[in-house]
Amino acid sequence: MDTLQLSSILLLSAFIVYVLSSFAFIISITGKNWNKNWSKDRKSAHQSRWGTIGFALTLVGLLSQIGYIITRWLFDHYPISNMFEFITFLSLTIVISFTVIYSMYRLPALGAFVMPLTVIIFSYAYIFPSKVQTLMPALQSHWLIIHVSTAALGEGLFAVGFVAGLMLLLRKVDTSVTSKNTKWLEFTMYILLTVITFIVSIFSFTAAGYEAKFTELNPKTDEIQQVKYVLPPFIGPATGETLQVDSFLGISKPILKAPSWMEGMNAARKLNTMIWSLVTGGILYVLLRLILRKRLSQVASSWVSDLDEEVIDEISYRAIAIGYPLFVLGALIFAMIWAEQAWGRFWGWDPKEVWALITFLFYTAYLHFRLSRGWQGTKSAWMAVLGYLVVMFTLVGVNLVLSGLHAYSGV
């Protein structure tokens, strides 16, 4: 077995252990209600035992993932230079952030929300090719490691801030009545479901060997190229022809063509993936509503019903407050130093740079609302939730939707 194989095994083990730790945390907070006859002490013993198991598993997974980083680094380079490596790294920083915050507040419920999020993000990484790739000259710098690691750590803490914010909303908002807050909470749940169905769909169709092929005009080179879809084509390319579409539920050709202005290479495929995720997410959402006969946020809020609002509010704020300086240092200052060294300018209004600035401005507004204008509770929690959307767009959306210097591959 060579270092690379060892490294892949360590990564996969980390993933599996994170799944287990998610379950342990969920058992910790839901299991205490399994037996109605349990005394208060018995319940809290159950909670703290499973919380401890969950946290121990988290640490095991963390060590395993650090082992992956070290072995992959020894094999070739610090794994942070393509989408697969970066997304797995992002999940690592969420776990590190969670570990730090958990050791301060010891709240198993936090794990029951953070660890599943970690698992979702982690599995997203596996959509991208996991091969080691050669480093292009622009990436051959220590600043790659310093800039990306620090920024990702800040983003990991923003993820914990987001999760705690969501928990606070579930705790504070009365999810049994219809209100603006419940509607937006349901919408948040729906978005999370679309992410899940997106990942599951990609894996299922890839595993089943599904394929749809089209020709498409590449506007950059003016050449006809082949585009491969992994998911069934609701939307075909604006130009070009259908080569082959495996049948899925009777869909043997695209239902619609992408609008003509979407002429970027793969634009139609990305649109198709998005629509597919929104539709299947919607189907899953409706199914869950029918099965549970409750709002999803109502179910989730029962997990946090006994938490101290003040504590979750502080956790959300604390995570963001710790993350903010790290984000500034990594995503702006180190980024500027590196840009000055590699591109000859410290700031160039590249879309990724602009979005890092937008993230910074957003959390700056959050801190000012909170510190100077006394925003706490629901308003500030919504900002923590929205903030993470901005973070994820900066990290993933910019690469997939906007063009620029920070190009990675995309699905």
């Binding site: 050669t134 292009m136 502080e314 300086p325 000859g344 401005l361 510190l371 910019v398």
Partner: protein, 499 residues
């Protein structure tokens, strides 16, 4: 609580214009709105690519053609060059003013207030605090209790002052200065960025192509650059095999061996007198740095035609009369060959084309389709014979009368480096600002200013505590201080207070 009742200028009643402007910008709410406006505007700027990434000759037509009506509106609103537009800079300027005024408005009153704190606060003030509690004790007991509490507080890093039977314990007051320190850093960054392009001679950003062997002047500076050699290294077979990559053309390194000269005077013939000041193999991520000037490996062109080699042949005898090489960028007027042969360049077309009347014309100074008209003089043609030479075109027929023939022999190519030259004298202000900004936000966010007040009144000890953030942590700390001092306060009696 924030400014301890000290009067801020913005709260004075004077309604002069200056004061109204001051009041407007001193508001944190206004500051947040400015931040949010910049945020939203910046998002809009990323919807379509900015002009400066596209190198367009007719940007308006491009945006209309590619994005339709939306593109036209986007272009007309100036969003395609948003980040360098006057109104974007004006927004940053307003943010700058807001930061300066809001900070000045608060920092001095805050300093005065924190400097002149009284230890004893009245009971109502303490009971208003978000964290407060009280317990009964006797006058005999109180000195011991206060002593124990003081010890426990000091152990946790508190600075404790006592005034009769009242205590004020305070910790990490410096974190209150964090916002003002980080605002100072921001002021430096924004000022540096706005200044650098406005002060002449501070900022230089140029790009130039330099051929191997060529020395070029960097306009606007006393510097000259020579490109000694440009190379591209690919990843080796072994390196690719190790990671099982099949990408044979993966580039490992772009490198220009560059020499930087400084002009120290002028030679008698008018040429600059150059002194070598630096040589450096420039690669991506490793620029040449000399004083404030940086040279970057930014682009390249491979194997461009540089020299064309010809040999003169006597068509009758087949005898070779020697070779000559013409620099396509800088051809000599004539070339002397052995056996009394001379080749005069009668005409040169770096980029040959033909007009409507089928006459040869030149369309570019770049030698991409070079053609020559030679005048070849030799013993057998003393008056000289005109001879065309066009690459890849056999012209023997039109030269059938000629004795001599210029045979194309060889083409020498050269690599060209795209070098970016930059100088920014504002950088030191920006980096210092960035360092100060980091220190400021770390001070403000990684520490909390905690204060605990205690006073004894009519058989009761009243305690109130305040922090600028992290209430749960303060509550825990107070619990452990109480416990260590032998005072048991039930959890629910230590009020965290309403919202």
């Amino acid at each position: 609580m924030r400014y301890e009742g000290a009067v801020r200028r913005s709260q004075s009643i004077n309604k002069s214009i200056v004061n109204q402007i001051w009041n407007f910008f001193s508001s944190v709410r206004v500051g947040i709105y400015i931040i949010l406006i910049i945020l939203i505007v910046s998002i809009m700027g990323t919807i379509l690519p900015q002009e400066h990434f596209l190198a367009l000759t007719n940007p308006k037509a491009f945006y209309i053609e590619k994005y339709g009506v939306f593109g036209e509106i986007f272009y007309t609103l100036g969003f395609t060059r948003m980040y360098t537009s006057w109104w974007y800079k004006a927004l940053l300027g307003m943010l700058l003013i807001s930061i300066i005024i809001a900070s000045l408005d608060r920092v001095i009153p805050l300093y005065r207030a924190l400097k002149n704190q009284t230890v004893r606060k009245n009971k109502a003030f303490l009971m208003q605090q978000r964290i407060h509690t009280q317990w009964s004790t006797t006058a005999d007991e109180i000195p011991y209790q206060l002593q124990k509490l003081q010890n426990a507080m000091k152990k946790r890093g508190y600075n404790v002052r006592q005034d009769a039977q009242a205590l004020l314990a305070e910790k990490a007051r410096f974190s209150r200065w964090g916002p003002y320190v980080n605002h100072l850093g921001l002021i430096m960054i924004i000022t540096g960025a706005l200044l650098m392009t406005s002060i002449p001679g501070w900022y230089l950003d140029k790009f130039m192509w330099v051929q191997e062997g060529e020395i070029k002047h960097v306009t606007g500076t006393p510097y000259y650059v020579k490109n000694e050699r440009f190379t591209i290294d690919l990843y080796s077979e072994a390196e690719l095999q190790k990671i099982k990559s099949e990408n044979q053309s993966a580039v490992k390194r772009y490198q220009t061996d560059a020499i930087l000269y400084e002009k120290v005077g002028e030679m008698p013939n008018g040429q600059p007198d150059l002194k070598q000041v630096m040589n450096h193999p420039m690669t991506v991520n490793d620029p040449l740095r000399y004083k404030k000037v940086r040279l970057y490996q930014a682009d390249y062109k491979l194997s461009e035609w540089k020299n064309m080699c010809f040999s003169i042949i006597n068509k009758k005898t087949g005898e070779k009369h020697g070779d000559f090489s013409v620099d396509l960028y800088n051809p000599e007027p004539s070339y002397e060959l052995p056996n009394g042969l001379t080749v005069v360049i009668q005409d040169y077309f770096p980029y040959l084309s033909f007009n409507e009347d089928q006459e040869p014309i030149n369309i570019s100074s770049k030698p991409e389709n070079p053609a020559f008209i030679f005048l070849i003089k030799g013993p057998e043609a003393p008056e000289g014979e005109l001879s065309w030479a066009i690459i890849g075109t056999p012209l023997d027929e039109i030269h059938s009368e000629n004795v001599y023939k210029a045979n194309f022999k060889d083409l020498e190519t050269v690599n060209t480096s795209g070098i970016k030259i930059s100088m920014n004298k504002g950088m030191s202000i920006i980096w210092t600002g960035a360092a100060i900004f980091m220190i400021g936000i770390a001070m403000g966010l990684y520490w909390q200013h905690r204060r605990i007040w205690l006073c004894y009144e009519d058989g009761n000890v009243i305690m109130g505590a305040h922090t600028n953030k992290g209430w749960v942590g303060l509550r825990k700390e107070i619990m452990s201080i109480m416990k260590e001092s032998g005072l048991h306060i039930p959890d629910d009696q230590l009020q965290l207070g309403g919202k």
